[in-house]
């Protein structure tokens, strides 16, 4: 059996005098569903940014798929199979919804050796992805015509378009209704069954508990818990961190 898909060792990041991340260790096995929770400002997004290369970590290493990725630019990591959705949706505002999905298809999927899609296949793939997140009827609209909820779905679809081995979903469900949250969780579980490893960063506890096989808790830049969801939630230190909310 191969090693973990993602290994983060001793990751540290400071902004001036402020320590955002303090020696984070994290291992995610292929096929796992990991939930990452923590109060606001605990460093979750900073961790995602360091893993994906949007920020350069000050210390520690990140290994993906058996190889180190430190020093690689974000687009190279995406091509290797890491994808992320942004906490605040960042659509390509002047491109249509379907065209938003074309970008990762052209630049990630087509860039990988041996997987070039023909134009017809590209269009078909865009259509499938839009169906997956129920945005098929909005294909020709601009992101500015979408509701907040639909923008979050587009954000997720765009990350999925890159055909990742690992998907990091950064608060993809904020503002969704209960049934919409359940839909997205079901979608993510289906994806996971198809082989995509998923790290879910969320505040909505229902979603996190239903989704995660393993739960990691971050507080003030440090990992304070890492294990089965029920056990972690009963950990007194975790309770203290959340009672303060």
């Amino acid at each position: 059996m191969a090693g973990p898909l993602l290994t983060v060792t001793g990751l540290g990041k400071r902004f001036g005098g402020f320590v955002a991340l303090d020696g984070i260790d994290l291992a995610v096995a292929a096929g796992e569903r990991v939930g990452l929770i923590g109060p606001n400002g605990s460093g979750k997004s900073t961790l995602v940014n360091c893993i994906c290369g949007a920020l350069v970590n000050d210390s520690g290493t990140v290994h993906f798929d058996g190889k180190p990725v430190d020093g690689l630019l974000t687009h190279e990591r995406t091509r290797r199979g890491m994808a992320r959705s942004f906490q605040l949706p960042r659509p390509f505002a002047t491109l249509m919804v379907a065209e938003n999905l074309r970008v990762p298809l052209l630049y990630t999927v087509n860039a990988r050796p041996g997987s070039a899609l023909s134009p017809a296949q590209l269009d078909a793939r865009c259509g499938e992805l839009l169906q997956l997140v129920s945005l098929a009827d909005k294909a020709a609209k601009l992101p500015s015509d979408l509701t907040q909820v639909e923008m979050r779905k587009l954000e997720l679809a765009r990350a999925l378009a890159a055909e990742p081995k690992l998907l990091i979903a950064d608060e993809a469900m904020a503002g969704l209704s209960q049934s919409e949250v359940d839909d997205i969780v079901a979608l993510l579980i289906r994806l996971n069954e198809r082989g995509v490893t998923i790290v879910l960063i969320e505040h909505i506890m229902r979603a996190v508990m239903n989704f995660s096989q393993r739960l990691v808790v971050l507080v003030s830049g440090r990992k304070i818990a890492d294990g089965a969801p029920e056990t972690v939630m009963r950990d007194p230190e975790v309770e203290r961190a959340y009672l303060g909310q």
Binding site: C52, A54, A83, F92, L95, Y107
Partner: protein, 314 residues
């Protein structure tokens, strides 16, 4: 419409324009028209980096002047036919664009914009201090009065610039519709998200900078032959920086059509204004139009037309 069809149509239109100008039989049309054509190329070139990719170049004059001084250098060293000079100028300006981009594109867009301004001034200072190409005194270019087959020399220059316009518009249009165009648009809309989607942003930005610079250099190469006497102040002139930005911003930055419309409208307006009023008022009008459009109609004339069309369809 495929690129090949577009190019054929463009060549046909260009030929028609040339023949129509010949029919008028007044050389002023050629002199004024050359300036407008030159602006079409500059505006289109600027837009590849500014409109498509979102990185503002304040120093367009630098690349244009670079092309002009390549010509002056070879005129003194060993004269070459203008089409060859245009290619050398394009190569030189492209390399300078690449180098400058490599130094500054890893920073934010605003730093890049300021760096382009810096480049223009540094280049101008270098040229002013380089006596071989005339320094601040300027350089005289003696041009033949006639050219075989075509006739008057200005007709030849006009034809060359027409050819460059076809090339520039063709290049801009084919980029828009290609994978490269999507990459540029993604960078313009959200560079961080573009990177996360697999777009190699630095590489694409370097492509844009190089291409944009090269086209501007090519536009500058015939200029010394057009003007006869080249001074740094005219090659690095104010009008080039302002117009290269104003024309696409007023015409519309989203596609190749905007810079074309902006250059034709503003270029013609300025030809009229310089003759009837003064050239200072000329720049004032362009500046005011730029400010006005940027505030009121950020998507330019093309944007206004689109809005009107969409409103009508409701």
């Amino acid at each position: 419409m495929s690129t090949r069809t577009f190019l054929l149509i463009a060549i046909a239109v260009a030929a028609a324009v040339f023949l129509a100008a010949r029919l008028v039989n007044n050389d002023y049309v050629f002199f004024a028209g050359y300036t407008v054509l030159q602006f079409i190329v500059l505006a289109t070139a600027w837009n590849i980096l500014g409109g498509y990719t979102g990185y503002v170049n304040f120093g367009s004059a630098a690349f244009f002047a670079l092309g002009a001084y390549v010509t002056v250098f070879f005129y003194k060293f060993h004269p070459l036919p203008i089409p060859v000079l245009m290619m050398i100028a394009g190569l030189t300006a492209g390399l300078v664009g690449l180098g400058m981009g490599y130094l500054t594109l890893r920073l934010r867009g605003t730093f890049f914009a300021i760096a382009t301004l810096a480049l223009a001034v540094v280049l101008q200072t270098l040229v002013v201090n380089w006596d071989y190409v005339g320094g601040s005194r300027g350089a005289y270019i003696v041009r033949p009065s006639d050219v075989p087959v075509i006739g008057p020399y200005i007709h030849y220059l006009f034809l060359l610039m027409l050819a460059l316009v076809v090339i520039a518009l063709g290049a801009a249009r084919s980029i828009e519709r290609s994978q490269l165009g999507y990459g540029f648009a993604a960078i313009r809309d959200d560079e961080l998200a573009a990177e996360a989607s697999g777009v190699p942003t630095l590489r694409l930005k370097l492509v844009a900078t190089t291409l944009s610079g090269a086209l501007m250099g090519m536009a500058g190469a015939p200029f010394p032959y057009y003007i006869g006497y080249l001074q740094p102040s005219s090659a690095f002139g104010l009008e080039y920086a302002v117009n290269a930005i104003a024309m696409p911003m007023i015409g519309g930055t989203a596609s190749w059509v905007g810079p074309l419309i902006g250059a034709i409208l503003l270029g013609s307006l300025q030809q009229v204004a310089t003759v009837t009023i003064s050239s200072a008022v000329n720049v004032l009008i362009v500046g005011l139009l730029l400010i006005g459009f940027v505030i009121i109609a950020p998507n330019g004339i093309v944007g206004l037309v689109e809005r009107w069309r969409r409103g009508r369809d409701r």
